[in-house]
C-alpha cells in the first residue's frame, strides 16, 4: 500500500514536472543596482521581458538588487522556487551566476554583459567598442571645439572598452581631436549618482568639450541635464535615450539588451535555448546608434554617410576596433 502510494506520488510529480516543462516556463529576471527604471541598461532588459509577457501572457518573477550581497541570494531564491530560465543582468552578477549555476545544473541561466563558462549558462556579450566607435565618429563631426568627452560609471574594463572605442572613432574622422575621459567612481554607487555626473560634465565643458558620451547608467541622467543646461550635446547609452532631452541628445549608442532578454525567454519557451557565448556586434545588429525624431535635426547627411561608411568597413573587417578587454590598454586614449 505504502509502495503503491509512493509510486503514485512519484509519477504524479513527474507528470506535473513534464507538463510544466513543455510549454509553461517559469522565467525570472534579476535586475542589478540602478533598478529596472534606470532609463538605460536594466530598463532595456525590462522592456524585453515585458514584451515577452504581453505577447505570451507568461508571468515572470523579478527582483531588483539594491545592495551587492543580495545578488547571489536573489538568484538562488529564484532557482529554489523552480524558475527557469533565469536572467542575470549585468557583469556584476557574474560570480553569483557562476556559483548558483553549479548548484542547479538543470536550470538554465543567461547572463548579460559577462561570460560564465558553464554547460547551463548562456553568456550574452556585446561588442560595445564597435558601437562606441560609431558614436565617436558622430561626436567628432558634431564638435566645433574639436574636443569630445566621455564619462563612465564605475571604473572597470567593460566601461574602458566604451571609452576606447569612442576615442578611436573620434580620432578616425579627426586625427587631432582630443578626448577627455572621466570615470564617476570605483564603487557600484557610481552607476546612480546624477549629481556627480552633472558636475563631471560641467568640468569637461569648462575644459573645452562640447559633446559628451555618458556610459554611466543612472549617473548619465545628470550628464544629459548638464548638457541641456549648458546648450551642449550629449550621447546616451544602452537604450535609446534621445527622448530624455530632445534637442541636445546627439544620439544614443544602443545595445539590443531588450532583444537579448526577449530571445532568452522565447527560445526557452520553444526549447531552442542553447548555452555558450553569444557575441553581438555591428554585424549581428547587437549594437547600433539611434536616430529618431528627437535628434534628426542634429544629424547632418554628411554624418550619416560617414557613419554608414565606417560601419561597412568595420563589418567587412577593414577597420579593426580595438577591444580594451583583450589587453587592458587603449592606444587611442
Amino acid at each position: 500500500m505504502k509502495k503503491l502510494f509512493q509510486t503514485a506520488a512519484a509519477s504524479f510529480i513527474a507528470m506535473a514536472a513534464a507538463t510544466s516543462y513543455a510549454d509553461e516556463i517559469k522565467p525570472a529576471v534579476v535586475f542589478d543596482m540602478g533598478g529596472k527604471f534606470d532609463k538605460s541598461f536594466n530598463e532595456g532588459v525590462y522592456n524585453g521581458v515585458e514584451k515577452f509577457k504581453s505577447e505570451t501572457g507568461i508571468e515572470y518573477k523579478e527582483f531588483e538588487v539594491t545592495n551587492p550581497s543580495q545578488r547571489e541570494q536573489a538568484i538562488r531564491k529564484m532557482a529554489q522556487r523552480g524558475s527557469n530560465p533565469i536572467i542575470g543582468v549585468g557583469f556584476a552578477q557574474e560570480a553569483a551566476i557562476a556559483k548558483v549555476a553549479q548548484e542547479y545544473p538543470d536550470i538554465h541561466f543567461t547572463i548579460i554583459d559577462a561570460v560564465v563558462d558553464l554547460p547551463n549558462v548562456q553568456s550574452v556579450v556585446f561588442k560595445e567598442h564597435e558601437g562606441s566607435f560609431l558614436v565617436g565618429v558622430l561626436a567628432a563631426m558634431a564638435s566645433e571645439t574639436n574636443t569630445v568627452g566621455f564619462i563612465g560609471g564605475m571604473d572597470i574594463p567593460l566601461i574602458q572598452k566604451f571609452a576606447c572605442g569612442y576615442a578611436q572613432g573620434a580620432k578616425y574622422v579627426k586625427g587631432d581631436a582630443s578626448v577627455l575621459s572621466n570615470m564617476t567612481g570605483t564603487t557600484p554607487s557610481a552607476w546612480n549618482d546624477p549629481g556627480k555626473g552633472s558636475e563631471l560634465a560641467k568640468s569637461q565643458f569648462d575644459r573645452g568639450a562640447d559633446v559628451i558620451f555618458a556610459a554611466a547608467g543612472g549617473t548619465g541622467i545628470g550628464v544629459y541635464q548638464a548638457a541641456k543646461d549648458a546648450g551642449k550635446l550629449a550621447i546616451g547609452v544602452d537604450s535609446n535615450q534621445n527622448h530624455l532631452q530632445p534637442g541636445t541628445m546627439l544620439t544614443s549608442m544602443t545595445k539590443q539588451v531588450d532583444v537579448a532578454a526577449y530571445n532568452t525567454f522565447k527560445t526557452a519557451m520553444e526549447g531552442t535555448w542553447k548555452p555558450g557565448i553569444l557575441s553581438l556586434g555591428l554585424a549581428e545588429n547587437g549594437v547600433d546608434w539611434a536616430l529618431d525624431d528627437n535628434n534628426k535635426s542634429l544629424i547632418t547627411d554628411a554624418m550619416t554617410a560617414k557613419v554608414k561608411e565606417a560601419r561597412e568597413e568595420i563589418v567587412a573587417g577593414k577597420i579593426s576596433v580595438h577591444d580594451y578587454m583583450e589587453d587592458n590598454s587603449c592606444p587611442s586614449l
Partner: protein
Amino acid sequence: MDDFFLLSLSTLDSTLRLSTPLILCAMAGIFSERSGIIDIGLEGKLLAGAFAAAAMAAYSGSAMLGLIAAIITSISMALLHGFACITHKGNQVVSGLAINILASGLTVTFGIAWFHQGGQTPNLSGDARFSPITFPGAEMIREIPFFGPIYTELLSGHNLLVYVAFLAVPLTWWVLYKTRFGLRLRAVGENPQAVDTAGISVTFLRYRAVICAGILCGIAGAYLSTAHNAAFGREMSAGQGYIALAAMIFGKWRPVPGLLACLLFGFLNALAFRLEGVSVPGIGQIPVQLMQSLPYVLTVILLAGFIGKAIAPKAIGRPYVKER
C-alpha cells in the same frame, strides 16, 4: 596663465554649487544643537525635502511650490524629532537616526507609488526648476580683465537658492547673537534650568529651534532636486547631511567657521572632479581614489590637531526635566 585663471574660477564656481546644501544643513544643525537638541536627522530631512520638492514641482510645474512643500515636509520631520525628544524626552541620536531611516524608505515608497519610475521622479524643466539668475551688466563687463570674469563667472549665474544659502549665514549669526530669541536659544542649550527659572518655556524654545532647522533643511532639499539636479533619485542626498554635521562640529557650532568648513569640503569635492584624469605639471596624474578620499583624510587631520578642541553646547543631548 589665462587658462589657469579660468579653470580656477570654474573650480570655485563649482565649489559654490557643491557647498550650498552643506551650508544650509550646517546652519540648520547650529540652530538645533545650540538649543541642546542633537540633530543626526539632517540627512533625513534633506532627503525628504528633496523628494517633496521634486514631487510637488513635477505635479504643479512650479519650483516655488516645490520649495514650500519641501519646507513643510522638512518641518514636519523636525517636529516629529522634537515630539520624540523634547516632549517625550527620548534619546536624540536614536530619534535622529529613525528620521533618517524613515526618510530613506518613505521617499522611495512614495516615489514608486506615485510616479512608477523605480523611486525616481519625472525630469523637471522650465519653471519647475530654479533657473540661473544673471546679475545686471554681467555680459557687459565680461571683457574687463580679472574683475569681469570673476563677476560674470563666479558671482553671477547661480540659482536663487545658492544666494539664499549664503544669506542664511549672516542671518543665522544675527539671529543667534543679536536677538533676544537667539540669546535665549543659546542659553537653553547651555543651562536650561536658568532659562526655566527666568520664566521662559524650555520646551517652546527648543521646538522653535528645531522648526528653524527644518526650514533650512527643506531649502537644502529643494536645492538638491529642483536646482542642482532636475529630478529626485533614491538616496540622492548621499551622506551630505552627515558631512554638514561634521562641518558644523568642525566650525565649533558657530555660523561663520561653519561656513568656511562647508566651503572647504565643497572645494575639495570640486577639485576632485576637476583633477580627475588631468596631468598636474610636475606630479603627473593624480589617482582618483586619492582625490576622493582627500576630504575625509583632511577632516581627520584637521580635527585631530589643528582646530583645537571643539566644545559642544553644555546641555546638548540631555532632555530637560523640570522636576525629579
